[in-house]
């Protein structure tokens, strides 16, 4: 390694570390602010002089945050399981069966990727109010139950499974659904895990549609609850930051556990290009 190589490395580490601090500072500031009592929040120092968990107690007992947390969990988990099942089933069918209209069906599904959600929310809202889906979990969830991107992704992975393996199971008398469920699905587990975790995060963070379809505070998801709570407590930054911490920390934990799958999933999302 030459001297200039070593210089480049050193400079790289310095710049990377400086930027890492910039990237992570807002999270530090969020948590530090959530630990400050109200009288300290308007003081210009970084660390709380007398750190307290009172803000968390207040949020958990005097607001609907626990309920919003539960709502978000229900919505994100249900949509994720639905996406895992249907996206892989469709991807498998398109990859491994030949039937009339296969290409047209695949193109039809892919073409829906072009439609921006913003264009659909007005008809969805009209539909939901006619069918009584406003203020229900189903109303929040239905737009995300199946995704075209996930189907595309699972099709790519299902295509790598050798046909012989599936035919062998067929000869052994396994049902067609059994072949999908017990033979194909276990072989694409890593891709399925990435799809699932990214979907969970996406649904946990979703804002625009839940904001529209829910009007009862008891049915808010965490992001909608946090937005409403914050604009109602504009002077109480310590409470707003506590709410932000409560909605962010679970994701950071999920992220630390599943970082490999998440990074993989993001890389796969670049697959389209």
């Amino acid at each position: 390694m030459t001297r200039s190589d070593r210089m480049v490395k050193l400079v790289s580490y310095i710049v990377l570390s400086a930027l890492a601090i910039v990237m992570i500072f807002p999270f530090f500031w969020m948590v530090l602010s959530s630990l400050k009592p109200f009288r300290e929040i308007y003081r210009p120092y970084l660390f709380p002089k007398s750190p307290t968990l009172a803000n968390f107690q207040k949020i958990m007992s005097a607001s609907l945050f626990p309920r919003w947390f539960l709502n978000s969990l229900i919505v994100a988990l249900s949509t994720t399981f639905s996406v895992m099942f249907f996206d892989s089933l469709v991807g498998y069918t398109i990859a491994k069966y030949s039937f009339p209209g296969r290409n047209i069906i695949f193109l039809f599904i892919l073409s829906t990727l072009m439609i921006p959600t913003e264009m659909l929310i007005i008809p969805w809202y009209v539909m939901s109010s006619r069918l009584g889906w406003i203020d229900t979990y189903w109303g929040i969830m239905f737009p995300g139950m199946i995704t075209a991107f996930g189907i595309f992704l699972m099709k790519q992975f299902m295509e790598t499974i050798p046909d012989d393996l599936l035919d062998a199971a067929r000869i052994d008398g396994v049902s067609e659904f059994g072949i999908f469920w017990r033979v194909a699905l276990p072989l694409v587990k890593p891709a399925l895990a990435s799809l699932a975790i990214l979907n969970f995060i996406g649904n946990w963070n979703a804002f625009l549609w839940p904001l529209i379809v829910v009007s009862k505070p008891g049915m808010y998801t965490l992001p909608v609850g946090l937005a409403t709570f914050s604009s109602e407590n504009l002077m109480h930054w310590e409470l707003i930051m506590t709410g932000a911490t409560v909605s962010t920390i679970p994701l950071i934990i999920v992220f630390l556990i599943f970082q490999k799958q998440i990074i993989r999933g993001i890389m796969l999302s670049g697959l389209k290009g």
Partner: protein, 310 residues
């Protein structure tokens, strides 16, 4: 491998039966998803198009066909034009910033071997955390002195205080900065994957030929990354065209202020549809958004098809 006719006939029958069964199974597996895409994606899209040609507020049962008058209406609405112009600003400020910063970061990350995944982990954290939460954190950081941490830092450096979200000229760039902070990690991951796909031999060969660092970067690495740059530019452009959550949470009462200076297209749509219940006008604005996204996507396909093979 020719067999007699007699033995083929029953086998053939079996194959046809099996094929029939498989075709039926395929349609069975696809039935619910196809209904979903037809009724939750395709039909609402047609419905939005149709709505954009009608005059309708959600409470009244009458829908009157009004032709293009909603489109004429929005293009004569100064607020819509402001939102369109603002959206363009979001894209023009945001996309180059994200691409340049994340490419630079990815190139730096590619230089180092230790802690690479640690840095990547930190950079991607803003991308996976809820935008609502991070928007409020940034709104808090952007406050005036003595409570805004960024302004305190500026005064520590001896720089004058800034108004950030309170100013008609600084609010939009401030929101862009927050959004860029949120998107960098995603782009770094994709860029890094692209960089690691570049065969080492290319760079070695050029180095042997006496190319310096700058030449390696601009003559080999960046041209080879071109498809990734195009892909990310397009996805980021679409993301900035659809910006909503940051603006809704960072501006006073979610109105896109001060004085509409941060109001993006989607917030305009939201206000028209769900505050004024003017569904026809809102639908027309969504069609404009759709056409912009369509144009960008078609452009991407053209550029990628024309790309030079190395």
């Amino acid at each position: 491998m020719k067999r007699g006719r007699d033995s083929v006939a029953p086998l053939w029958g079996e194959i046809v039966k099996l094929r029939h069964k498989k075709v039926l199974t395929a349609y069975l597996f696809l039935s619910i998803p196809l209904l979903f895409f037809a009724f939750i994606r395709f039909y609402p899209m047609i419905s939005a198009f149709y709505m954009s040609f009608t005059n309708w507020n959600i409470i009244s049962p009458v829908r009157k066909f009004v032709g293009l008058s909603n489109y004429v209406g929005i293009f004569n609405d100064p607020v819509f034009m402001i939102s369109l112009f603002n959206t363009l600003k979001y894209v023009l400020y945001g996309v180059p910033s994200v691409i340049v910063l994340s490419l630079a970061l990815a190139l730096l990350l590619n230089n180092v071997t230790k802690f690479q995944s640690f840095y990547r982990l930190i950079y991607v954290m803003p991308y996976i955390t809820p935008i609502v939460a991070t928007s409020w954190v940034w709104r808090w950081m952007y406050q005036k002195p003595p409570i805004g941490v960024i302004n305190n830092f500026l005064s520590f450096l001896g720089l004058p205080a800034r108004n950030f979200l309170m100013s008609t000229t600084e609010a939009l760039p401030s929101i862009v900065a927050t959004t860029v902070w949120g998107q960098i990690g995603y782009c770094v991951i994709i860029f890094l994957a692209g960089l690691q796909n570049i065969p080492k031999e290319y760079l070695e060969a050029a180095r042997v030929d006496g190319a310096n660092r700058r030449q390696l970067l601009f003559k080999i690495t960046i041209p080879l990354l071109n498809p990734v740059i195009v892909f990310l530019s397009v996805t980021q452009t679409i993301m900035f065209l659809r910006i909503f959550t940051q603006v809704y949470n960072m501006t006073d009462q979610g109105l896109g202020g001060p004085l509409n200076s941060t109001l993006p297209l989607v917030l305009y749509i939201y206000q028209k549809a769900f505050k004024s219940f003017d569904m026809g006008t809102a639908a027309a604005a969504t069609v404009v958004l759709f056409l912009m996204i369509l144009a960008i996507t078609v452009l991407q396909l053209k550029v990628l098809n024309r790309r030079v093979q190395y």
